[in-house]
Symmetry: C2
Subunit: 365 residues, 2 copies
C-alpha cells in the first residue's frame, strides 16, 4: 500500500480469500487497486444518491485499468432491492456486450453491494466483483462474508448466493457525506460485535461513542477493522452458514420482522437490528442466560447511538408470521440468536409465550 | 442399489461429488433414493407435458421421505426459460413457507433442470436439489456438470450459477413417451462425445444407431453412461469452465446462434447443436485440422439420426452479432471449438471470412 495509514484485514477463505482495505482517500490511491483483475470492461453499479458524489472519482481511477468503464445507476433504497432492479445490471452488461471477464464495482450501501454481488454471481455464471461500500453499515457488515441477495415480496434476502468479492475498499472519506441517521444505523452493527463476541470491544465502543458519532477517522477505522475482524473470524469458520455464522444475526430475527412488517424502507436495516438486539438481549435474560444489568447496558448504548429501543406496534400473530419465514427457521420453528453470557452467542428456539412477553415489554403504547 | 441392472456413474467433485444412476424403473425404486437428504418438505418442479405423465409416481415415492411433497408445474419450452417463470418456483416455496433444508426435484427436460437447479442455487442462497431428467438430451448432457441458468432477452443462459445436484436419476422408462424429434435431439449430444473425445464411441454409435432410434434400453443405457463418463471426466478437470470444459460446447457457438436467431423453441437445442457440429467440423477442415472425409462422416451420422445438416437462412451480420454474445467470446473475439484431429477438441478464433464461407456452404437456398 502506498498509504501507510491504510489498514488491511485479510479474509482467509482458501482460493476465495480477499482483503478489506480501510483508509482515507482509497478511491484516489492507485495502489489500493493493485492486483485486482484487469479486463476490457468494468461496470460501476451505484445508485442515484451515491453516483453523483463518487462515481466520477472511481471511474477516473478505473479508466487507467480498463478499456471501457461503464456505469449503471439504480434507484436508491431497500424497496428497490428486487429482481426488476437487478435486471437493469444484466441489461447494461448484455447491452454493451460485456464478456465473462468484466469486473463489477459495487459503489454504494448494503443494497447496492448485495445486488451487485448477486449480479456478479449470476452474470454468465460468475464474474469478478469489488465492493466499494459507501455507508458505515456496509463497511462493517454487508460487504464482508459473501452474502448477496435480492428481496422477494414474501421475504427479505430470500433469493441470493454466497459469492466472495475480489477486494473490499472502505474509503473513510465517503462517510463524510453520510446522513446522521445512516451513521447511527451503521453503529448498530458495530455494537452487535460486542455482546456476541468481544466484551472488551463493547467497552471500547462505549468509551468512544462520542468520537464515532463525530466521525473521527481514527475511531471509525478501528471500529470498522475490529468489526470486520470478528466477522471474518466467524465467516472463516462457517462460510456457508451451517451453524456458528448464524450468531452474526443477533437482533436480526426481530429486526427483519420489524423491517418487513413496516414495509421495506420505513425502518433502516440497522434500526431494525438495533431494536432487535434489545429484544434479543431481553429474551436472553428471560431465558436466564444474562442478568437485567446486561440488558439495560445494551439498551442504554443503543439509545445513546441514536437508535430505536422501542418496537413498533404490530399484532402478535403478524410478528410470528414474519419471524417464521426467517432463513434460520427449520420445520416452522423459529430459532433466535441469544446471548449465552456476555460476549458469547448461541442459537436456540424459545417458547412463543416468552417471545410475546418480550415483544410486549418493548412495544411503544 | 436393489436393481442390479442399474448403472452408476460417480461424479468426483470433492465435497460436491454425486452419482448419476441410469436404469429402468428408478422412480419406483426406493433404493435409488437412499442417502438423499430428508427434510420436512420436498418440491417437485415439472412442466405441463411431463407432470401429467410422471409427477404422481415421483410424488408417491417422495411421500415416504418427506412430510410435505409440493409441486409446481411450469409452462413447457425454451421460450419460458426466463426469470418470470423461475419466480413461480420461488413463489411456491415462499408461499408454502419452505425452509432452507427443502429438497427440490427437477422432473423434466433440460429447461426444467436448468431452471430448478438455478432456483435451488438461489433460494435462501442454496438448497439441495435432485435431477430427474425426462429427455435423452437432459440425461446425457444438461443434468451433468452443474450448469444452471435462465435466458435473458439478449442471450441464452446468460443468468445462472454453477451448482451441483445431490444425485441424477435417469429413468430409462421415461424415454418411452419422448417424441421422436426429441429423441433425435438427444442423440446430437451423444454423437458430440465421439469427435471431441472418443472415436471408438463414435464407431459404437454408428453401429448402434438403429437400436438407439428404436429405443433399445441396453443401447440407450450404454450411450447415456458413456456420454456422462466423458462429460464427468472433462468437468472434473475444469468445473468452472476455465478452459478445457469449453470443448463440451462443440457445435454450440453456431448452434446457439441458430436457436437465438430463429427464436427460442423453433429449433430444439439438440437440432441447433447437430447442425452446428457439421459447421464446426467443416471449419476444422478449412483450418487444416481434419480431412473432408471426417466432415462427411459427421454430416452423414447427423442426418441418419434424423437431425438437420443445413443451417437456416440468416443475414451474415446477424450470425456474427449472435455469435459475439457467446459466453466463450473474449474482448469481442469469437472463439470456436474445433476438432484438432479426430477425437480431440481445441478452442480457437477463426477469420471472419472463413467462418462466413462455412456458413454459406451449409445454408439451404
Amino acid at each position: 500500500m502506498s498509504n501507510p495509514s491504510t489498514l488491511r484485514v485479510p479474509i482467509d477463505l482458501g482460493d476465495r480469500s480477499y482483503d478489506i482495505l480501510i483508509g482515507s482517500g482509497l478511491l484516489a490511491d492507485a495502489a489500493a487497486f493493485d492486483g485486482l483483475p484487469t479486463s476490457a470492461d468494468a461496470l460501476i453499479v451505484s445508485n442515484t444518491v451515491v453516483a453523483p458524489l463518487y462515481a466520477q472519482r472511481l471511474a477516473e481511477r478505473l479508466a487507467t485499468r480498463h478499456r471501457r468503464v461503464l456505469q449503471v445507476v439504480l434507484p436508491d433504497g431497500e424497496a428497490h432491492k428486487d429482481w426488476q432492479t437487478l435486471n437493469q445490471v444484466f441489461d447494461a452488461l448484455l447491452g454493451a456486450g460485456c464478456d465473462r471477464k468484466t469486473v463489477l464495482y459495487a459503489l454504494g450501501g448494503g443494497v447496492v453491494g448485495d445486488m451487485t454481488g448477486f449480479a456478479a454471481a449470476c452474470y454468465m455464471r460468475g464474474v469478478p466483483f469489488v465492493q466499494v461500500p459507501s455507508t458505515l453499515l456496509a463497511q462493517v457488515d454487508s460487504s464482508v462474508g459473501g452474502k448477496t441477495a435480492v428481496n422477494h415480496p414474501l421475504g427479505k434476502n430470500m433469493i441470493g448466493a454466497f459469492y466472495q468479492p475480489q477486494r473490499v475498499l472502505c474509503d473513510l472519506d465517503m462517510l463524510d457525506t453520510l446522513p446522521d441517521r445512516e451513521l447511527s444505523a451503521g453503529l448498530a452493527e458495530v455494537i452487535k460485535y460486542g455482546p456476541i463476541a468481544d466484551m472488551a470491544f463493547l467497552d471500547w465502543i462505549e468509551a468512544h461513542l462520542p468520537a464515532l458519532m463525530a466521525r473521527d477517522k481514527a475511531a471509525l477505522a478501528h471500529a470498522i477493522r475490529r468489526s470486520c475482524e470478528i466477522k471474518a473470524w466467524v465467516v472463516g469458520l462457517d462460510e456457508r452458514e451451517g451453524g456458528l455464522r448464524a450468531i452474526l444475526n443477533f437482533g436480526h430475527t426481530f429486526g427483519h420482522a420489524i423491517e418487513a412488517g413496516m414495509g421495506y424502507g420505513a425502518w433502516l436495516h440497522g434500526e431494525g437490528v438495533a431494536c432487535g438486539m434489545v429484544l434479543a438481549a431481553d429474551l436472553s435474560a428471560r431465558l436466564g442466560l444474562v442478568d437485567a444489568a446486561f440488558v439495560a447496558r445494551i439498551e442504554r448504548l443503543v439509545a445513546a447511538a441514536g437508535l430505536p429501543v422501542q418496537a413498533p406496534a404490530m399484532p402478535i400473530e403478524r410478528w410470528f408470521e414474519l419471524m417464521r419465514v426467517d432463513k434460520k427457521a427449520e420445520g416452522g420453528e423459529i430459532r433466535f440468536v441469544v446471548i449465552d453470557g456476555p460476549g458469547k452467542a448461541a442459537m436456540r428456539p424459545a417458547p412463543d409465550a416468552l417471545v410475546a412477553e418480550v415483544i410486549a415489554a418493548h412495544t411503544a403504547r
